[in-house]
């Protein structure tokens, strides 16, 4: 509660008190019928008032008012303090909740971003792995084919060379051992097998 509100309340109470006093006097005044009585009573009332509201009484009223005012102020200060504490506590709680909420949201967004990034990275890694696997398979097949081709080439060369070596060896080994007379039959059979071609060439040759 603000200070001006307290002042307004105290002022309002004073006005009510003074108003009450005036009402009491007014009612009391109604009972006097004659003006003289009225004047008398007024006078008496003034005296009474003078008696009642003397300096000591005023001082007492002032002290009471001061005490009441202080009490009101103390109570209100206490209420204010309690309100302030409550408000501060609520505010603190609210701030905590808001900050926590914001933080949770931010963390959630951050987590989603991280999850997305992780998914993208995983996807990318998966794709890269698949590509590498495909490349590896292609390379493996190529390498295998090339190895097989190279092996076949080497084998063919080896076989050719080995066959040539063996042929050369056999020719060198048996060449001098077979007499022409022994070969006659085979030579004649070879000639017989190609007789037609020889005959045609002899007939048509220049």
């Amino acid at each position: 509660m603000e200070l001006w509100q307290l002042i307004a309340i105290v002022t309002g109470l004073l006005i009510v008190m003074i108003g009450g006093i005036f009402v009491v006097f007014a009612l009391h005044k109604k009972k006097m019928v004659t003006p003289k009585d009225t004047e008398k009573q007024t006078k008496k009332a003034e005296e009474d008032i003078e008696h009642i509201f003397d300096d000591a009484f005023r001082e007492e009223l002032r002290n009471r008012g001061r005490l009441y005012f202080e009490k009101i102020i103390g109570e209100n200060a206490m209420f204010l303090q309690q309100d302030l504490r409550l408000t501060a506590s609520q505010l603190n709680e609210y701030m905590k909740q808001e900050i926590s909420k914001s933080l949770r949201e931010e963390f959630k967004k951050y987590e989603e971003s991280i999850t997305d990034a992780q998914q993208v990275a995983i996807h990318s890694i998966e794709k890269t792995r698949e590509t590498i696997e495909q490349q590896r398979e292609v390379l493996s097949k190529q390498l295998e084919a090339e190895l097989q081709e190279e092996k076949t080439r080497y084998m063919a060369r080896f076989e050719k060379n080995m066959a040539e070596i063996i042929n050369h060896y056999i020719l060198a080994a048996v060449g001098d051992q077979i007499s022409l007379d022994d070969q006659l039959e085979y030579i004649l059979s070879d000639l017989e097998s190609s007789k037609k071609e020889i005959l045609d060439d002899i007939k048509t040759g220049a």
Binding site: N167, D181, L188, L191, L199, G205, A206
Partner: protein, 161 residues
Amino acid sequence: MSETAFYIPVGITSKADVSRLLRELESLEENVRQSHLQKKPGSTKVNISQIMQEIAHVNSIDLRTTTARKTLAENLQQLKKSAPIVHISFASSPRAQFLANITGWFRREVHPHVLLEVGMQPGIAAGCVIRTTNKFFDFSLRKKMLDNTAVLAQKLREKMQ
């Protein structure tokens, strides 16, 4: 020259043999002419080679008559000029009998006037290599072995496995 009328013995295998016969015929002719000039016909003794005698015999030619000698010379000239030539090579030098067998086959199966040009190629190991006018025939052992290299390679492969 009629192809069937003139017979060539298998002893005559090459153009060189034909040339030799022609030279022998010329020599014979010269001797006969010298004898006539000396007016002593038949006085000069001439040695006639066995192959000359053989060719005269198979063709029923009397070498004592000039006309026959002249006919033989003409036939030999014609043979030298137009006989089909077959080049044949062996791994080693062939004996005469062997060559006669080969020549006989050619004259029997291919042409009666075939002449051979014999060569030597030790590299062929066995068999022979023949070249006619336009063709080449390789009947050598080397060729057969080269043709069957795949079989040899297959056998090697089987042994290696």
